[in-house]
């Protein structure tokens, strides 16, 4: 599709972190008109009253009224709230829903990356897993942030059924991953220069990533152990995954390069990377090492972009036949 295209988009839950980040993307997206931004708590206020960096970019205001004249509806509400919203609202079926919560990402009884619920069918929106299914989807369940970073580290191996040994993952996330609610662990005086782990070997994103990898690997998955950390920074996730593998470093690198060749947001670095190479972009960066018998994959994303709102826009682009990169040629903050 060409430059003339203009999608009509609505946002529900526009006052939170992912809603704000989505607005930052859509106000400059060349093919999108934002028809409404819904927020019960902020209705009536200009969006820049909440997302103050948007002053000068848009005169939109929050509304508490939904409008049906949209092509796509982004749900940026909390986990559990998205399903309730879809059930309670009477959305016309032609409106495609892109849900950023975990409500439609997985289901214990199924092994496919498609979930039905609340009268709709949701395709798991990881473009590097199933771009074609996304293009044909009715609705999208946008993946979790840690789940995205870890899946992108392991997809090429699973696709070749090489996930045969236990995988050990550690990862550190920025504070925006925990949302904007106030809590002891979001207090600046506590979190500044601090580090802590949480949900060790027990993080909820293991469900969706195991479902994905199981679907590719087909045979029984090995254990995947994941140690998440809260880091003293605001944006980004960096993960290190390792497993015993008979692949050499060059074989592994070739495998990853081939797998991601047609995926514009994933790059393989040939030098040791750091998180800020991807912060404020929709990119995922991977780095492959071999240490003894272990293959080590470092992966990193911006949790609010490739891990949330950026991936949602990427999914929208695919759903509507736009250039996959439209609105996502973002300048890294770099520092």
């Amino acid at each position: 599709m060409g430059d003339g295209i203009s999608m009509k988009a609505g946002i529900v839950g526009g006052a939170g972190y992912t809603g704000g980040e989505l607005l930052r993307l859509l106000v400059h997206h060349p093919n999108v008109d934002i028809v409404f931004v819904h927020s019960n708590s902020q209705a009536g206020k200009p969006v820049y009253a909440v997302h103050k960096d948007l002053l000068g970019d848009t005169e939109l205001s929050f509304t508490d009224t939904l409008q049906a004249d949209v092509d796509v509806l982004f749900l940026c509400v909390g986990h559990g709230e998205a399903k309730k919203f879809v059930e309670a609202s009477d959305l016309p079926q032609h409106i495609k829903v892109i849900d950023l919560s975990q409500d439609f990402r997985w289901n214990e009884s199924i092994t496919e990356a498609t979930v039905s619920g609340a009268g709709r069918t949701f395709v798991y929106g990881l473009p590097e897993l199933q771009r074609n299914a996304i293009k044909e989807a009715e609705n999208i369940a946008n993946p979790g942030c840690f789940a995205t970073a870890i899946q992108l580290a392991l997809l090429p191996l699973a696709a070749e059924k090489l996930l045969t040994e236990a995988v050990h993952v550690s990862g550190i996330t920025g504070s925006t991953g925990a949302g904007q609610s106030l809590s002891a662990t979001s207090h600046y005086s506590w979190r500044s220069s601090n580090i802590s782990n949480y949900k060790v070997l027990n993080h909820q994103h293991l469900h969706e990533l195991r479902r994905t990898l199981q679907g590719l690997q087909q045979e029984k998955l090995p254990e995947i152990n994941f140690v998440p950390y809260r880091g003293p920074f605001t944006r980004g996730i960096l993960c290190t995954s390792y497993l015993r593998s008979s692949l050499s470093q060059s074989e592994a690198t070739a495998l990853y390069e081939a797998y991601y060749k047609e995926h514009p947001f994933v790059s393989i670095s040939s030098t040791t990377p750091d998180l800020k190479q991807v912060v404020n972009t929709n990119k995922c960066l991977l780095y492959i090492e071999k240490q003894g018998d272990n293959l080590v994959i470092t992966s990193m994303i911006d949790n609010l972009l490739k891990g949330a709102s950026g991936q949602a826009v990427q999914n929208m682009n695919l759903l509507f036949g736009l250039n996959e990169r439209a609105g996502l040629n973002l300048k890294a903050s770099a520092f």
Copy 2:
């Protein structure tokens, strides 16, 4: 007094930031027994359940019962609460109160650095202003953090009646200055790497510092303009003050060195200083420059120590004839 001395101390409001910092000091103070730590919200819990770094240092628990068998009572409650507490409680007069709130620091109708209220008389506890009055005091009103940093920058000039021109001050404070309550401006995602001003030319500490300086200067004080900033760090205050002055740099430096000669916590730096030289200590560091006609004084303290709990201990030491540095030979965090 020698090593054998042991003061009995109680703390009211021990669950907040200044209460915790006071505990960190008193558990290692060679001349203090902590008799009780009062907290309505945390009664029954060990103090290390709230101030987690104290695990291994003390087995004290919070209590909701006051005990009268103390020599000194520290009030670490909020502004307004201290006065209410003193009025409502029936404290024996022989217990000396050291109040860290602003309730007894100043009074519009008086010009002396002694305030009466709630049946008690409070001496303003800035040792570098009036050490002898503190030694003889019945009770102490512990100064504010910005007020301490700015007064220590200006005391030697006021003492010589040299505050004759407008003074311009800017200062940056760490997040602990705002206490432990959760708020938008204490959220890590907001405050990290951020800077903002607040109460520009209108900060409440101007009252107590003007009262002090007026008392020394005696003639009408010039305007004192103060721009406070919230900085992206947790501890410390750094202020820059300047005014037109006929003093040369060496004259000014000599004046300051003479003034602070007998004060163990104030040093004059001969090289450009930075905040972390004083963080986690009870020190105040000063740096004197002359630029054109302007005398520039940079001053810095740790807001929780010399700006609050450390100064409270310094006042206690003076009140009870202990070594002024007892319990305050603190290792700087330095980094």
Copy 3:
């Protein structure tokens, strides 16, 4: 000019911070082809070997050879180096030079915002001061970062000849303002959670901003006192300026709104702002208060964008008749 336009651009000094930031902008600019990126130290390497976030965005490499087939040449070399470069090279006069150093910003003997040197004439590139002169310019001297933040705070007053009283400014800058060279004050262990002042009342940007304000004010300028701070963050500058003024807050706000009405990157905030509203954008945000007799103006920019490379692109857009915002609709990092 329409979408079909394509400028040919060269960059000299592309391996530094401002060169990297310029590359981040130009690789996504809809009207620019980057013909070459010159660096003596990095010649032969891909630009993403130095600016690692550009991996996946461009396959350009650094070169040590200049090419003449460009419309515009950006100089991102150090202070002093730019003048030498222009003198030593034999640049065709039709190539417009945009210099990011201070070499052509001001000259002691002149009062106009145009400087001749090295055989060329440079217009001072502050679009909100003289957009029309920039459109007609042969070459541009891009303003300094602090100079931009302070001028934008004071231009509307100077334009009305209201700068009649002493102005007092304090401002805090991020670490990227000091460039990428290693030094004691750029060491992470030193700067993290630290604050310090430097060049108090003696900052070099006072030259260019006094020249500008004098040009508007025409009468003798009052003193402008400026206290700069190094802050513990990487991007951004926030300044607070105040002066005695008879304007009310609403009069002042109206004056500023009128002055900046046609300038797309300057906004007047109606609520207390914070630095991160502008970080990673080309915006300047202003906030106007009245406290007693003083008018207080808070101004903030991203030092690498509106304070350097973003403003350079804005100047390029004006020079070549492009949309002033082309390539500068940047997503704020916001957190």
Copy 4:
């Protein structure tokens, strides 16, 4: 030994980070006189010219001359330099050397925690491993920072010969672990808000910790995989270790509590801990969890204290029969 004791101490390499931290401890140590502080690069300058926070604490100056009238000599020079120093100097044998480098920590040919070299015998100075051997030692090889944090997490298991399954460790260190030399990864603009891994599965501290654990476990050690990260903070190390274990959480906790009962600097937390509980102290904090079949041990220390200079003082205290906590009752920075 009582209060009257006074050790005479010398420091070699006093201008670096560990030398500075040692000075911060020794200037307030009740039983130590610092006889000299050696530095080739800073000889003649007051120590506070380099360690600026020491202004007001000591009038000592650096010297380039060694003095023999000391009881203990701390070596704070770089790896490789310590061995050279001991070989080249003609130190009287009665002077006990405490070396903070890795030069005498391990030796490929030996399995005991005692290393001979340069004509001296060094006992590996981890008090929680071999306090009695330390008390009797001639010289001490002070452990590495990561090695300390990981060993303290695993010692109780190894002592019971329960290290029978592969151990997986991830850990994050602050910037001071890399010393004060300037480098790309110590630049503030790079490291702020950034995260990166390094030496994945290949860190040099694995040598000394494997030697220790092997010595206790006696049978063949399983693999110990370690992923180190550089974190955006200055002080501290937090590690998460896990392995399959048949111990229940309460059995494991009881085991750890018994093992560390007589060790004053190690505490077992009953709630999720965070790094800042130990920053600026000589403590190690441990937290024990069971997740499925895995036992998870979180351990944390301040890398400059329990991971370097604090542990060196602890070793000195043991060597000379002082109270193990003398000079180490440090106030946590907490924030």
